[in-house]
Symmetry: C2
Subunit: 402 residues, 2 copies
Amino acid sequence: LQNTSDAILRGEGIPDEKVRWPQGFHSGTIACGLKESGNPDLAILATSPIANAAGVFTRNQFKAAPVLVSQIHLDNAGHISGLVVNSGNANAGTGAEGLAAAREMTVELAKKIGSPPDQTLVMSTGVIGKKLPIEKVKQGIGQIPLNAGVDSVAAFARAMMTTDTQPKAAWVKTSAFHLVGVAKGSGMIHPDMATMLAVIATDAVLEPTQLKKALGHAVDCSFHRISVDGATSTNDAVVVLANGSSSISPNMLTFQEALNWICVSLARQIVADGEGASKIIEICIEKGRNERECVQVAKSIAASLLVKTAFFGEDPNWGRILAAAGQAGVELDLSQVDLFMGPIALISSGEPVSFSAPQLKQVMQSQNIRVKLVLNLGDSQAEVWSNDLGYRYVEINAEYTT
Amino acid sequence: LQNTSDAILRGEGIPDEKVRWPQGFHSGTIACGLKESGNPDLAILATSPIANAAGVFTRNQFKAAPVLVSQIHLDNAGHISGLVVNSGNANAGTGAEGLAAAREMTVELAKKIGSPPDQTLVMSTGVIGKKLPIEKVKQGIGQIPLNAGVDSVAAFARAMMTTDTQPKAAWVKTSAFHLVGVAKGSGMIHPDMATMLAVIATDAVLEPTQLKKALGHAVDCSFHRISVDGATSTNDAVVVLANGSSSISPNMLTFQEALNWICVSLARQIVADGEGASKIIEICIEKGRNERECVQVAKSIAASLLVKTAFFGEDPNWGRILAAAGQAGVELDLSQVDLFMGPIALISSGEPVSFSAPQLKQVMQSQNIRVKLVLNLGDSQAEVWSNDLGYRYVEINAEYTT
């Protein structure tokens, strides 16, 4: 936990016991048999009082059944008293039967927590195109014990995991509100295709419109900065629930800052846990014409496999970085760019610069590498996070369903 | 060599001795020391009479020095008496010095073959961002012996290779003209970032405008069908030279068909030789609204790493195929699509279909797999070629410059 200047406590990573859900939230998990490993694969988060809620969902044309159901429920009511998440099966590409299964999950949850079904949400992650064994899931929902105790946040984060190697959480506590987020996601080569789920809970008093706007901003500067061209998997979902149990309407700037911090933290944890990844690569584009173009150039570099494999090989192949920037669809002037790897200048005004090879080697060996490309075309900047790509990614993805 | 119905001889792959350059073309190769392996890395193709020429070059914002020089020469003159290609060094990202080096290559070639320098072309492929040792290259150009003998086409194709494991060639012979093409390229994950070079020579009589139009069509239905979103590497170039030594103006339909066939053949050879690839995946989109949308959907599937790694694992993960289609930026209706893997239906009107698992396994084990996605939205179709992705790709690309 870090103590920031304005008495805001915040932290990230695997939650310790100081971290519990905000007041009024309860959760529970169970292993209902969706994961072959026998690990927990089903989780419920419930809130009383009922929460105002907002969500950002995948923009993929093929939306999974749980996304379709949750979107309708949020649009109808905007008030949510609970959500159920399963891992091990995405319930995507499963046709009419899959849609019925997603609805049944909300009905079962609603029964358990005493709520109308359309005031609940459902999220799924795992293999696409496999029929969800709905009876197992219904039975699991019925059996989950709900509590607000020590480890409930960590257990929830663990039950969401698929190829993740670490549970992911972040939290902020101010005098006015408490904010806790958990997430799952890895498979970061084309991050847009690995399902990313996040659930964020707060006791702040917030209107649905305030919540929606704040979440949109936070997602734009976090989860959308690890995704390529804004597209997403069939199941991606980020939801925030505000149950108002603190009875305090927070300063919106403070709340936005806290929500941004949580989303950026979760997004970076996802990148760091990319399938087989050993490094985080921070791609900073500076002095671009506008933020949109900076993001576009940064994402083109972030998505380049040639760049990712070069970082895996600890090879400072800056030619691949420039080539990736050059195909971003943004007008650039090579004769003006400066490129830095960590603190070391590699290119200045488009010309190669001599540098210390041992120093550069040291930068390439570190776990967190900052690539800075200065376009010298304007005053805007943007940052995007990527990771390296190695053998382990191929192994995980070639063998995922077999 | 296949004998087609209209007495057109054509063939592809490693050229045998029946295949020589069209009349009036001479070539030669040498190892000038750019490749550590000591293999040939420099090649010249010269023509007398002088040829009309056309070229299609990379759309990357960062164009390599040889691309800039060749584009200017083609725009100025449109008449070309020779070209020089080197492998082992891309002469890209090399600043003003690199531009001077590319010009010097054309000057040295011009001297050798007795031509104005601006009637020559230069192409380079290899590592980006490394200074070209121009003295070695100039010396090599001076020493290359030019001839039109047995093996000259194959030798030329070999001297262009970088990570290619096979030389690539295709040829067509009709009563009116002779057409021979060679190419290099692999690294097919983001095919747009692996340098692809092709040189096509013909003895047909063709105006520069006819040649330009024909090459544009041919590239659109071939090399652009193995590239993602139309972007290309810093060095990509396809050039065609027509020296008119047959004295026959060909039927343009016949010529276009022959040029298309050569370009499609070379493009498919590049895909088949993708770094570490073991399979060709033919992605056919049918019944789309228009060709552009079909190509867009096909390329989204072709570029998906999750799809590529699934094919490497011989895993018929059709969920990944649909997810990739769904993020192509094209409006689709999942409830209408049909999906086939080889002859086997997997999805019909959006619903999973039961199929024979052993039969499907057999399809997945073959070296050439046809994926057909029927959108049922219109009458258009398109085909794009991809390949699988395995450990070998990572190995090649993580260690390319070290």
